[in-house]
């Protein structure tokens, strides 16, 4: 149950430290991408996308198919992000946009319904067994050696890509015309539409962007995690925990929290595998009780 010896041994061996930390960082980056999508959608549209995990799943499976078909992993990542974006936009137009004004119950049910449909669709197309992509051909190169530990080059790619994409999104939302319009519309949609701007289009685009982040995360995760229909649920919970701890609406906060959680998971699976979830929960509850706005968040959830 508790293997604190293994944990302590790891702390004293740099090779283990490097391996575990790098694993923790990539888990964190994946969480960060997904959480950024959640925070983006919530911050602007004030809707909690409980179906977000399904887009992660869609991205992963699409990437697998794209890689199997074309042999190019870069295309696969693009395909993953794009498919999630397109499906996300369709979902937003057909379902989510109709419940913006409704209460949480309707929004929850709509998202739950989408997850059911998506999980079953994935099962139908790809089957119910576990699927694995393995490290793509582009990255089957000798690993980097760092302080006695091993760091697969793919990890570096994953971290770099995630950071780049997330920063790009942040800049987009803060400084571009698109970002400004979307943020203004979130505050006062009727005012913005009076200026001749088609607000629904912008909302759909934003939702699609949030889903694309999840889809990209799924595509990036495909080489290092096995896939199964229903894989969206645990990433959903984890990404929410990240958003809560980091602060709803704060992308830097999500990064900090995601790394923290990723590293906790990584070292935790060594030392206290059965309690990793529990530890993360306790961290989240502690934040909610003592610092409800999250580590770097702006407003308290009350």
């Amino acid at each position: 149950m508790l293997d604190l010896d293994a944990l302590l041994n790891c702390f004293s061996a740099t090779s283990c430290l490097v391996t575990q930390t790098s694993t923790g960082i990539i888990i964190g980056m994946l969480l960060f991408l997904v959480a950024s999508g959640v925070t983006l959608i919530f911050g602007v549209l004030h809707v909690v996308n409980f179906a977000h995990g399904a887009f992660y799943m869609i991205g992963a499976y699409t990437a697998w198919s794209a890689y199997t078909a074309t042999g190019s992993y870069y295309l696969a990542v693009l395909a993953g992000a794009l498919s999630a974006a397109v499906i996300g936009i369709v979902f937003e137009r057909l379902a989510i946009s109709r419940v913006y004004k409704e209460n949480l119950l309707m929004q929850l049910l709509v998202c739950y319904a989408f997850v059911l449909v998506a999980d079953d669709a994935v099962k139908m197309i790809w089957g119910a067994e576990y699927l694995a992509m393995g490290i793509p051909a582009e990255f089957r190169v000798p690993p980097y050696r760092f302080a006695g530990g091993v760091v697969p080059p793919f990890y570096v790619f994953l971290v770099a890509t995630s950071l780049a994409v997330a920063i790009a999104c942040l800049l987009l939302i803060r400084y571009s015309r698109f970002g400004k319009i979307v943020r203004a519309a979130a505050q006062n949609a009727s005012m913005v539409s009076v200026l001749g701007i088609r607000v629904p289009v912008y909302f759909a685009a934003l939702f699609g962007l949030g889903c694309a982040l999840a889809g990209m995360a799924g595509a990036l995760a495909a080489p290092v995690r096995s896939m199964t229909p229903g894989m969206g649920l645990s990433i959903l919970i984890d990404s929410f925990i990240v958003t809560v701890i980091g602060g709803m609406g704060s992308i830097p906060g999500a990064l900090l929290a995601a790394i923290l959680l990723g590293v906790t998971r990584s070292f935790g699976s060594l030392g206290f595998p059965l309690f990793v979830d529990g530890v993360m929960f306790i961290m989240m509850v502690a934040i909610l009780v003592f610092r409800p706005q999250g580590l770097l968040g702006e407003r308290a959830p009350r």
């Binding site: 149950m1 909690v48 057909l94 379902a95 109709r98 419940v99 949480l104 119950l105 309707m106 929850l108 049910l109 709509v110 739950y112 319904a113 989408f114 997850v115 059911l116 449909v117 999980d119 079953d120 669709a121 099962k123 139908m124 649920l233 645990s234 919970i237 929410f240 925990i241 809560v244 059965l274 309690f275 979830d277 529990g278 929960f281 989240m284 509850v285 909610l288 009780v289 409800p292 959830p301 009350r302």
Partner: protein, 341 residues
């Protein structure tokens, strides 16, 4: 002072109805030829307890709990694990089953109290998410403590059910009668709560928490107590399932059970007391019908939910109420609001 007339007093009326229903169920149990009907009803009893207890939160207090199945499963697990302990059965003898039920009820109540105390301070979205998170934590604990709970496989080896009060729970009819009793007791409990002054407090919190607070109501405590009561009553559903299957499974606490429970409430009608039970039956019909045509029940369910939420926008009993009001509409018809009775 008027004479005590049973039909004038709401509590007495509810108790009489419960008694009549129980007798009706027993009658069905006695005359039913095969076991199919009884088994189906037992399944509906379990689901009924789950949704009616959740209705206390969603319909009456306005609290959207997305993790209610945890208390459902907890009831089954406590019941099963207690009865699988030889020392317990040896000590309690013929009272084992009733005591195990009581322990499941109280133990789950404690669990719900702890979770409720933490969650009730939070706003809607965080509340929904945190209840879901606690449910997942519950599942991971069950899966982790393999030695005690059987982990993924669930409680194995069957649950001993010593006979009590002349009932042998291995027999279908006795098992059915026990389940019917728990069902009627649970629904009666929910009914009495909604009829009481506490029930009015729940509705105040649902309608306008701020004003309720200005009237001196401790809205936090109201929410915590509602959550605890709902969790406890849900545990009875878990006990019914545990008796039925002679086991307990972590799937009973999955988010699809919680999600489906929420949908059943909406499907039947959020604004009436009996709505959720109508929803349970309707869901069962939908499930059975889709099974006839396809194995993709999840997708069918998802599409059904989207239809009800986006197109119909309200549940069966709500739709019926609107239709009846429209027939008696005054010339100036305004959008009707519903009161949960």
């Amino acid at each position: 002072m008027t004479r005590f007339h049973p039909f004038a007093h709401p509590f007495a009326r509810a108790a009489l109805l419960a008694f009549a229903a129980f007798c009706g169920f027993l009658l069905v149990g006695a005359i039913s030829p095969g076991t199919w009907l009884l088994d189906t009803l037992t399944g509906l009893f379990a689901a009924g307890l789950l949704v009616m207890s959740l209705h206390l939160l969603i319909g009456y207090t306005g609290l959207i709990s997305f993790g209610h199945a945890a208390y459902y499963a907890s009831g089954g697990y406590i019941f099963g694990m207690v009865l699988q302990t030889p020392a317990f059965v040896a000590a309690c003898g013929p009272w084992s089953v009733p005591l195990a039920t009581l322990l499941a009820f109280c133990g789950t109540g404690l669990f719900a109290l702890v979770v409720g105390s933490i969650c009730a301070r939070l706003s809607e979205i965080y509340f929904a998410f945190l209840t879901l998170a606690f449910q997942m934590l519950f599942v991971s604990i069950i899966q982790g403590l393999v030695h005690y709970t059987g982990g993924d496989q669930g409680l194995m080896g069957g649950i001993p059910r010593p006979a009590f009060l002349g009932l042998d729970l291995v027999q279908v009819r006795d098992r059915y009668a026990f389940s019917a009793f728990l069902f009627v007791a649970g629904v009666l409990a929910v009914r009495l709560i909604t009829l009481s002054s506490f029930g009015a407090s729940l509705r105040m919190v649902r309608d306008n928490e701020r004003r309720a607070a200005f009237l001196g109501v401790n809205t936090y405590l109201v929410k915590v107590l509602a959550f605890t009561a709902a969790g406890s009553i849900a545990s009875l559903g878990g006990v019914v399932l545990a008796v039925f299957t002679s086991a307990a499974y972590p799937e009973w606490a999955s988010w699809s059970v919680s999600g489906e429970a929420i949908f059943m409430i909406m499907l039947g009608g959020l604004h009436s007391f009996w709505g959720p039970l109508v929803g349970v039956v309707a869901m069962r019909i939908i499930n059975d019908l889709t099974l006839l045509y396809t194995t993709h029940t999840e997708m069918a369910k998802g599409l059904a939910i989207l239809f009800v939420v986006l197109v119909l926008k309200r549940g069966i009993l709500d739709w019926l109420a609107d239709w009846r009001k429209a027939r008696h509409a005054a010339p100036s018809v305004k959008e009707q609001d519903h009161a949960a009775p």
